[in-house]
């Protein structure tokens, strides 16, 4: 069994089928791109994985365990973390505290656990936020807020990182910087699934691409193969989105 595996994953909202019997697998150490036009069900796959949505049918396995019906915090405890499309830092807390929150033990009796200041500094430094630990999230520029999201996810020490449009709203220079960080992470052995519209940034990063359209998988393969794939082109054109 692969490190991460979706088997016939299906999610229905009332009559609407958002994800339809999707199967895919990811091996340890891989970076896989998950692409598809808007509304194709990419984020729904992440939401099902993270336990935000209940799965209608099919199963999800991670690291040898079934996590299909696990709650969000259980999924995170198993070593999965997600960087959401929308940034949601807690504005009432400093950057440092936001990171610290992600290191706290899930125990009501642990009053003084969590990362030390040194460790928080290290988590922040991985994304060049070490000088902004005392700032409030709403004072940060957009790119830093996105970086904070990644830093928070990393603070849970994940083995598999789900990146949901990590580059949204960034300029090319910022994207390049972030891609470099992800490559460093890969070198450290973190497995990643990346969703993005920006094929440019993604293609450089990923080992493999899975394309979904209307909730079903229409193609999978190397980035180069996918770029050539006629069906993928049609799917994107049909939704009037450029590659």
């Amino acid at each position: 069994m692969s490190f991460f595996e979706l088997d016939g994953l299906t999610k229905r909202f009332g009559g609407l089928v958002a994800v339809d019997a999707l199967s895919m697998s990811v091996d340890r150490g891989e970076i896989v791109g998950l692409i598809g036009p808007n509304g194709s069900g990419k984020s729904t796959v992440f939401n099902c994985t993270m336990g935000r949505y209940t799965v209608s049918d099919g199963s999800i396995h991670f690291d040898g365990r079934e996590i299909t019906d696990a709650k969000t915090h259980e999924v995170v405890e198993h070593g999965l973390a997600r960087v959401s499309q929308e940034s949601n830092p807690i504005d009432a807390m400093s950057v440092g505290a936001n990171i610290k929150l992600f290191t706290l033990p899930n125990s009501v009796t642990s009053l003084r656990g969590g990362a030390s200041e040194k460790e928080i500094f290290r988590y922040a430094a991985r994304l060049d936020l070490e000088n902004k630990l005392h700032e409030q999230p709403d004072e940060l520029p957009h790119a830093d807020v996105r970086r904070l999201e990644v830093a928070k996810a990393l603070a849970t020490e994940p083995e598999l990182l789900l990146l949901d449009e990590p580059f949204a709203g960034m300029n090319q220079q910022e994207i390049d910087g972030l891609v470099e960080k992800f490559e460093e992470l890969r070198d450290e052995g973190v497995t990643m699934i990346v969703v993005d519209h920006n094929m440019g940034g993604l293609m450089r990063l990923v080992d493999r691409v899975v394309v979904i359209h209307n909730g079903t998988k229409i193609a999978a393969g190397d980035p180069e193969e996918i770029a050539e794939n006629e069906q993928v082109r049609r799917a994107y054109l049909g939704s009037s989105e450029a590659m």
Binding site: H73, L101, N106, V108, L111, G113, T156
Partner: protein, 358 residues
């Protein structure tokens, strides 16, 4: 949490001494804030002396009552203020404890000692808290508030429906607190003893709740209020923590309920379960400043002293009109609470950023 002290002075150095030793446990303070806390503590601890010197012995009763309400307001705060799940039925918890004491005395054995009835009553508050929390925490925002409000109404009506057990509208007697402490007989017939019997638990609970509030647990509860999904994404079981906040709240609510029962000597729906009582608890916390533990203490003393000693110039009913009007004004114009404002003023004064919990 930085304490880059630049202003000197003896006050600051005392405050720094405190910060070094306890700051990480209870939050850091600057000089003026430290002075306010220590000053208030001293005033409360020696209240029997100055009230008697000033010839205002009656004030001691008001301060004892305020201490009990401070317990209730803090207990509400650790649950509602911190998690943002605003309970409008918290009087059910204190009322449940008070009624447990009353029913034990009335229907089991009138001679049950305080040291037996009190723990059972606190336990009852905890059970009621969990019974309310587990189903209702599925709802959010005003819907959660609505369910807790309705829970309050149900308990209120049940005291009438089962008047054979509860004494109905007029309630039941519980009498005074009498127990032995280190060989000495403690009884609340004496006003000074009664004051300390109410004050000491309040201080102990304040320290305990401050300690929890400034810990990981407090941080997680506040994070739940701000963004529950982010907390779940951090691998933290928010349901567990929300229920835990009810546990943290129910126990002091139970203590407050038992003390209030013995303070009044009688437990009845009017003083314990009427919706007004839940709203009073909230009003104290909001007037003082929610999610700060210290704010609700200030709010409780302010509201009780206003109600018992000052607003009476408007008459027995008029004082309530005046009190609720004050609360309404604070709600509209100073949502964050008066004592939080004061705290920030003191903070700016000492030009140190510290002490605040948020």
């Amino acid at each position: 949490m930085s304490s880059d002290t630049q202003t000197g002075g003896p006050l600051e150095s005392v405050a720094d001494g405190y910060n070094d030793r306890f700051g990480h446990l209870f939050g850091e303070l600057n000089g003026p804030q430290f002075a306010l806390l220590i000053g208030s503590l001293a005033v409360l601890l020696v209240a029997p002396v100055w009230t008697s010197l000033l010839g205002v012995g009656g004030l001691l009763r008001t301060l004892a009552l305020a201490s009990i309400w401070a317990i209730l307001a803090m207990a509400w705060d650790i649950q509602s203020g911190y998690t943002g799940y605003i309970s409008f039925g918290h009087a059910v918890l204190s009322g449940g404890a008070a009624y447990t004491t009353a029913m034990l005395v009335a229907h089991v054995n009138p001679d049950l000692p305080f040291l037996v009835t009190a723990p059972i009553s606190v336990l009852a508050a905890l059970v009621i808290g969990l019974v309310i929390a587990v189903p209702s925490l599925r709802l959010r925002g005003p819907y959660f508030s609505l369910v807790t409000f309705v829970a309050g109404l149900i308990f209120y009506q049940l005291t009438y429906a089962f008047s054979g057990y509860t004494g109905g509208e007029l309630g039941q007697r519980v009498g005074r607190i009498e127990f032995e402490l280190a060989g000495a007989q403690v009884t609340t017939f004496d006003p000074v003893t009664r004051y300390y019997v109410m004050l000491v638990p309040m201080l102990v609970i304040a320290v305990a709740l401050l300690y929890v509030a400034r810990s990981n647990v407090g941080m997680i509860l506040i994070a739940i209020r701000e963004n529950e999904e982010a907390v779940a994404a951090a691998g933290i079981d928010t349901t567990k923590f929300k229920i835990w906040s009810f546990v943290l709240s129910s126990i002091p609510m139970g203590v407050g309920g038992v003390l209030l029962a013995h303070f009044y000597g009688t437990v009845n729906p009017l003083n314990f379960l009427l919706v007004d009582r839940s709203i009073e608890i909230i009003a104290m916390a909001v007037v003082g400043g929610m999610s700060s533990i210290l704010g609700p203490i200030g709010g409780a003393f302010l509201v009780i002293v206003l109600r018992e000693e000052v607003l009476g110039v408007f008459g027995v009913t008029g004082r309530w009109v005046a009190l609720w009007t004050v609360v309404l004004l604070v709600l509209v114009f100073a949502r964050d609470g008066l004592f939080r404002k004061l705290w920030h003023v003191l903070g700016d004064w000492g030009r140190i950023d510290g002490g605040d919990d948020e």
